[in-house]
Symmetry: C2
Subunit: 273 residues, 2 copies
């Protein structure tokens, strides 16, 4: 993303891709986030924002969060860095709500802070950055569309207490394993008894892709966001490439186009280049 | 507790207190746990076990777990320490089920390992020991009886997903805060939106005692086990004494007898003296 101040008081957005995202700043996540930070700084300048999205919208990898975070980090730089990261997340939330319809920071917090983050609360916002070992992610993005509204509607409104307790146990163990670097515990604790079982029928390839990634040596993985993408966490880059290849191979019989990504888990978050 | 081998193949239990606990080894938590470890070691010797319980049964502080753990740690010592701690927890679970009717290690795991433990799973047993800063506990034990069956029956079988998510967030933050030693985060995350709200009407003094403990400078606290005891975590011994005194003062208008306890959070667990 490239952000410039401009004369006048308008925000002008251009896309260098052909994903058909809105350019009206009031309906664009980056535009709304940019307006939020500029208003908070008392800045009435205009801005030109050029966006090159390398990920098709609706991936489940958080591409709308990436746009919102890019806009606020760039604007904070142009304004002389008046805001700490916690506030940048809040400005980006104003943008994210345009894309997702809900006030949440699940994608924004790791995008701003880097690494693993836990959002303890959104009102007030309370982001916890988690200690973690060096890890690598493999992601497969099947080019199908799962509507966020459908991915949400399949979630139960009530869950059995015993399943809730199981997820509490695993989440606590996951946080502890990230901190201690215990890879076996990480692997055992990456189990979700509530959300994934409810959503996996939306991803017909779920079991095959997940099994293939694990068989390739990944520590654990599952649905990325609300899908359709899936991810694996791996101990090194070679394993992440293996996991991506194995997931791709497992997806082949389903005759769905896909892209794969391999990356270290960033420790820096959104950065000015 | 004092454990001796004896001639014959019987377990003989004596109590030096007057709490009226069973001495039949098949109905005594320590007796059942002792039988479990002896059987696993292929030992058919008899044992004499003398128990001095300093805590009235039904406290919510885990006194039955203490008896089960004491028996297995002592027996493991007499047998030449054949079993690692994870197995000791399993033997103790056989005893605890006699007292609580359920197969769980919530009290046993910290009693054996010391410190803070997370039981990720009971079948198979998976205990995670958590890093934590030096902390002190203040406990008040009102001398009333809350039946475990009643404390369980008030728990919902299903919980709203949003409350489950709130508890996941707080639990993850709590584990992270223990690890990093972030006292403010510990305090913010010691919030339970599911179990305490369901049980607090069984403890008419809940709000007063909790508020008093926090006002005295405790980091956080709530119901210990399924009650009637309540606890506070504190950063130092002086604060723990203040919190205990404040809880005692808050309980006075309720005209209920009580005992208070102050202790560092043990790092050693059940030990042979």
């Amino acid at each position: 993303m490239v952000l410039r101040r401009s004369t006048g008081d308008h925000i002008v957005i251009t896309h260098t891709d052909d994903f058909g995202l809105p350019t009206d700043p009031e309906h664009n996540v980056a535009g709304v986030a940019l307006r939020a930070i500029a208003d908070a700084a008392g800045c009435r300048d205009g801005f030109e924002l050029r966006i090159t999205k390398n990920i098709k919208p609706g991936s489940g990898i958080g591409s709308s969060a990436a746009s919102a975070c890019g806009a606020v980090v760039a604007a904070n730089e142009l304004l002389g860095r008046p805001f700490p990261r916690a506030e940048l997340v809040e400005f980006a939330m104003a943008g994210e709500v345009v894309a997702s319809g809900s006030w949440h920071a699940d994608n924004l917090a790791p995008c701003i802070y880097g690494g693993f983050t836990l959002v303890r609360s959104t009102e007030p916002l309370d982001v916890v950055t988690l200690e973690h070992p060096r890890l690598y992610a493999a992601v497969i993005h099947p080019q199908i569309v799962i509507k966020t509204s459908e991915a949400r509607s399949v979630l139960p409104r009530e869950v059995p207490l015993k399943d809730a307790i199981s997820n509490w146990s695993n989440l606590g163990a996951f946080v502890s394993a990230l901190s201690s670097g215990d890879e076996n515990l990480l692997s055992r604790s990456m189990v979700d008894t509530i959300i994934e079982p409810a959503r996996q029928h939306l991803l017909p390839y779920y079991n095959d892709v997940r099994s293939a990634g694990l068989a390739a040596g990944a520590i654990g993985g599952g649905i990325s966001g609300s899908g359709p993408s899936m991810f694996m966490l791996c101990r090194d880059l070679a394993c992440a490439h293996d996991a991506a290849a194995a997931m791709a191979h497992a997806l082949t019989p389903f005759d769905i186009e896909f892209l794969t990504y391999v990356s270290p888990v960033s420790r820096t978050g959104t950065a000015v280049m």
